[in-house]
């Protein structure tokens, strides 16, 4: 192998480009991440981002390397003890990928928050790692205002949490698994109609019939169905209607004289596909919400420019979105399948071309140049039925604690379950109590050498206070308190601010992929709080 092919960037990223495509890789390549902190949760997150090929990262931390860091952070070495942790970890992280540039600042994150906000606005994503509640809140507020995604995460003992805070996040390609195929059985386009009309099942040989792609069988069954109903626009909408279609399909089958069986693969496929394929082509709620958004009318952001063009396209296209243009695989002879695949593909291209023309119109009206390329427009149209926006409230620990207490109030489990397994909302509340403990006592529970049970008493008082503050006057705290067991409170003290490498690696792994989602506008991010419990390895997501 010649060196040039060995070290080609496309080879380095081959295994991931197969997932998010060249366009995803390009957006990652222009992503810059700012990370507050350089402990093992921070470096584990950065590791996966540097490997994925982000453009740059910036570490902010004034901590110096201690013994305990060596026992949990892979991007530090014994020799680094006493150095600035941000500098020492930066060195070892940049070794992972020569095309990524990294830099660091050895000041405290508090100092950065006071600096010009413009600096923060240059980052694609800002991440706060194991910071205090004060720092989290401060950054959340600044970043929310300038619409920079903010990820706030913690690793504490066997517990990990991630909170994503962004005013509005747009998703152009959700990569939904097994999306419903876009076959237009209720609204075939012109060229497709021609092919259906040319198709005559009765005139075919058995061999031809058995190599007829099922989409044509579906259209033919629909013709019979409409005749039976005496309604040229009838369309099977209920499960029973669809069962009638299946019966019609069964009746199309023929056997050869010698074999006797009527079974064949394409009819099996046709039958199985009926339930999913016979759906009216419609526009989903998440897409409608986008069209209804005021942003659609005014924004100059690329996403919104195409969305407005899409909205206009639909108005002149009988309420239909552009065709996705990918035909599912189906048993067929080569010529009919490829003809159909080509028809679908060409129709998708021509729909996208029309959307592009409308986009140019919108761009002109809003005084921006040709922002959207052919390619971007085409890809956008292919996923147009699954675009969505996600919005989140500003991170606000007081408000969120109230919501968490509300969730705990609703927990209704027996005593044994309660003792064996702690609910994720309870862990969240305990994380808040630990935060308050740290603020009030200047240290974390279980870190001063006295028996853990003493700090547990102190922590319990703080849990009580948080619950009391969250409930309206006069409400009984007992039902909530019943769900926050002494065992769980003691467990938080047992942790003693331990940052276990495996927990950080787990949470950092998830966080890095969430950051990639935020940077690429592909896939659907956590909305908006994720809690991991290492005891059971179970996790849950809720919106705060």
């Amino acid at each position: 192998m010649t060196p040039s092919t060995t070290f080609d960037a496309s080879n380095r990223y081959d295994r991931q480009v197969r997932l998010w495509g060249e366009e995803g890789q390009a957006s990652i390549g222009s992503t810059s991440v700012c990370v507050l902190g350089s402990d093992s949760l921070a470096t584990e997150t950065l590791k996966s981002l540097v490997l994925a090929g982000v453009q740059s990262f910036f570490i902010v931390d004034d901590a110096r390397v201690e013994q305990a860091d060596i026992g949990q952070n892979f991007f530090l070495h014994n020799n680094d003890i006493g150095r600035y942790r941000a500098e020492a970890t930066l060195e070892k992280l940049t070794e992972l990928n020569p095309s990524v540039s990294g830099s660091s600042s050895c000041q405290s994150p508090t100092a950065l928050a006071q600096e010009d906000v413009e600096k923060l606005a240059t980052f694609s994503v800002v991440v706060a790692v194991n910071q205090t509640e004060e720092i989290d809140s401060k950054f959340a507020e600044v970043l929310y205002g300038i619409r920079v995604p903010f990820v706030c995460m913690k690793s504490y003992g066997l517990i990990g949490t991630i909170r994503i805070c962004i005013k509005e996040h747009t998703i152009a390609n959700s990569h939904e698994e097994n999306p419903r195929p876009d076959l237009r059985l209720d609204a075939p386009f012109e060229k497709l109609k021609e092919m259906i009309n040319e198709t005559n099942l009765e005139e075919m040989t058995v061999e031809q019939l058995r190599h007829t792609p099922y989409i044509l069988l579906h259209f033919k069954a629909l013709e019979v169905y409409r005749k039976q109903k005496n309604d040229p626009n009838a369309f099977p909408e209920s499960t029973n209607d669809r069962k009638e279609i299946q019966k019609i399909l069964q009746a199309f089958r023929r056997s050869t004289e010698d074999s006797g069986t009527k079974d064949s693969e394409n009819f099996d496929e046709a039958r199985t596909a009926v339930m999913r394929a016979f759906q009216k082509t419609s526009i989903g709620g998440s897409v409608k919400a986008i069209f209804a958004s005021p942003q659609c009318q005014t924004s100059t952001q690329p996403f919104w420019l195409i969305c407005e063009a899409l909205r206009r396209f639909i108005q002149s296209n009988n309420g239909l979105l552009p065709l996705r243009g990918t035909l599912p695989d189906m048993t067929s002879d080569s010529s009919r399948y490829t003809r159909l695949a080509t028809l679908f593909h060409e129709k998708a291209l021509s729909d996208a071309k029309e959307v592009l023309r409308l986009t140019r119109e919108v761009e002109k009206e809003r005084g921006v140049g040709d922002v959207i390329s052919d390619d971007v427009c085409y890809r956008f149209c292919k996923n147009a039925d699954r675009i969505r926006i996600q919005s989140s409230d500003l991170l606000d620990y007081n408000r969120e604690t109230k919501e968490i207490v509300g969730k705990i109030q609703e927990i209704n489990v027996d005593d044994e379950t309660r003792e064996n397994k702690v609910d994720s909302a309870t862990w969240m509340l305990l994380m808040r109590a630990v935060g308050r403990f740290k603020r009030e006592k200047g240290r974390y529970p279980g870190t001063n050498g006295v028996p853990v049970s003493i700090d547990a008493q102190d922590l319990k008082k703080r849990v009580e206070a948080l619950v009391r503050e969250s409930l309206t006057n006069g409400q009984d705290i007992t039902p909530v308190f019943h769900n926050v067991t002494d065992s769980a409170i003691s467990e938080m003290c047992r942790f003693g601010a331990a940052e276990l490498h495996v927990i950080s690696s787990y949470v950092g792994g998830i966080a890095s992929q969430e950051i990639i989602k935020l940077a690429t506008n592909q896939y659907v991010p956590i909305d908006n709080t994720f809690v991991f419990d290492g005891h059971t390895q179970e996790s849950s997501t809720f919106k705060l």
Partner: protein, 430 residues
């Protein structure tokens, strides 16, 4: 009075918080104390695979306090590994994964000993595997998982009363990833569901039917597959070399032919990435999923070595396409699993069915590739290039009824490359 944290300047402070202190969520027989961390440090653990999961596992174990680690992998480093196998650099391409990974971890985590074995797992015998307290796997191959699973089941000895001797039981932790999905599981050989108990979890490999790729291709994959299985063996390019998907010239040759075929049939989508993907059966992979699954596995190893918390029961699923989702399910042991049952099982068959139908049934049930069937008296079926005569005989046998080849109560020995050891089936006519 000011009390001081005795672990303030301790390197292993975080782990020791959990190993030194009591908890309501511990395994019942856990006794808090500094001995636990010592035990952990002296626990011998084997990592199988030094790839995407393996690199992460070695790091995780070293930073969880394990100090005696061995790693086995026969592979060498390729540039496409570098997007996730973070112990390797461009200058390491071509070197042994196990050796480079072991050296890196030893250098970074001072005091941790990592012994590398640059070989196939099958090259090591029971005496090698027996010395570990637990084995943790980051493999991408199902046959390799089945092999080590079989080995660990075989290592379990029986007490006089027939129950498994727990001192001979080596727990196996297994991780697997594909794109943004993965799983992690804990197996107690012969006590809980093993790899072969749940073999149906692995979808059988999809092969395109030859008649489709030859006569009615419709997908770009069909065109590439046709060049691979029909055109290459016919035309014997590159002086008759066998097709090597890692050789860019070979890939290029296939690509050009596949493009011509695609053009002929008017099929879109043949390109270099797809061609290498089909030829190598590439599984897409990202750093993040490997990090999550390896952490999940290492956390279980930490629990098993220290009892600080209860292990999962027993299979974790993970996916991160839409949000991030995990769930733990309890897989059941298969009472008829050939591995858990020491390879000897009864099988009920209809005597008038053909040998072919029996073979098809076994291939599906045990996910076999090319089985050989024999009785104590003779070989019934064996397809091997080395034994052409037997192949002819075997094909003739396929059409015979079982009653004409075996009698009720006979034992048939079934062997296959995917089985760590042969299965003995006792025929019961029904």
């Amino acid at each position: 009075m000011i009390s001081v944290d005795p672990l303030a300047t301790e390197r292993w402070r975080s782990i020791r918080r959990l190993t030194d202190r009591d908890s309501a969520y511990k395994v019942p027989w856990f006794i808090p104390g500094p001995e636990n961390f010592e035990t952990l440090q002296n626990t011998k653990i084997l990592v199988i695979g030094a790839g995407g999961l393996g690199c992460e596992l070695l790091k995780n174990l070293a930073l969880s306090g394990f100090r005696t680690i061995e790693v086995i992998d026969m592979d060498t480093i390729d540039v496409s590994n570098l997007n996730r196998q973070f112990l390797f650099r461009e200058s390491d391409v071509g070197k042994s994964k196990a050796e480079v990974a072991a050296a890196f971890v030893e250098q970074r985590v001072v005091g941790c000993q990592v012994t590398a074995h640059n070989c196939r797992i099958e090259e090591k015998g029971p005496d090698f595997y027996r010395k570990f307290a637990m084995i943790i796997c980051g493999l991408d191959s199902i046959p390799a998982r089945r092999w080590i699973n079989g080995m660990l089941c075989d290592l379990v000895m029986e007490n006089a009363d027939g129950t498994p001797d727990l001192t001979t039981l080596i727990p196996m932790i297994d991780g697997g990833t594909e794109g943004f999905k993965g799983n992690a599981r804990v197996i107690y050989p012969k006590l809980s569901a093993c790899i072969d108990c749940t073999i149906d979890l692995y979808p059988p490999q999809v092969n395109f039917p030859l008649c489709t790729i030859a006569h009615t291709p419709r997908l770009p994959e069909h065109c590439i597959e046709y060049i691979k299985v029909v055109v290459w063996p016919e035309e014997k390019p590159f002086d008759g070399e066998s097709l090597d998907a890692d050789n860019p010239e070979h890939v290029e040759w296939v690509l050009q032919r596949a493009l011509l075929r695609a053009e002929k049939y008017n099929i879109r989508g043949v390109d270099r990435r797809l061609t290498s993907g089909v030829l190598k059966r590439i599984i897409p992979a990202v750093a993040s999923t490997n990090a999550v699954i390896a952490a999940s596995c290492a956390l279980e190893a930490l629990k098993l070595a220290t009892n600080i918390a209860k292990p999962i029961d027993n299979y974790l699923n993970f996916t991160q396409i839409h949000g991030a989702y995990t769930s733990v399910v309890s897989m059941n042991k298969d009472e008829n699993c050939h591995v858990c049952n020491g390879g000897r099982l009864p099988i009920e068959v209809n005597p008038s069915y053909t040998l072919e139908s029996l073979i098809n049934r076994l291939v599906e049930r045990y996910q076999l590739k090319n089985p050989t069937l024999e009785t104590a008296a003779r070989k019934l079926y064996c397809i091997s290039l080395l034994l052409p005569q037997l192949e002819e005989e075997s094909k003739a046998n396929l059409l015979l009824s079982l009653k004409d080849i075996v009698t009720d109560g006979d034992e048939i020995l079934v062997s296959d490359e995917v089985l760590s050891r042969a299965i003995t089936l006792r025929i019961k006519f029904v």
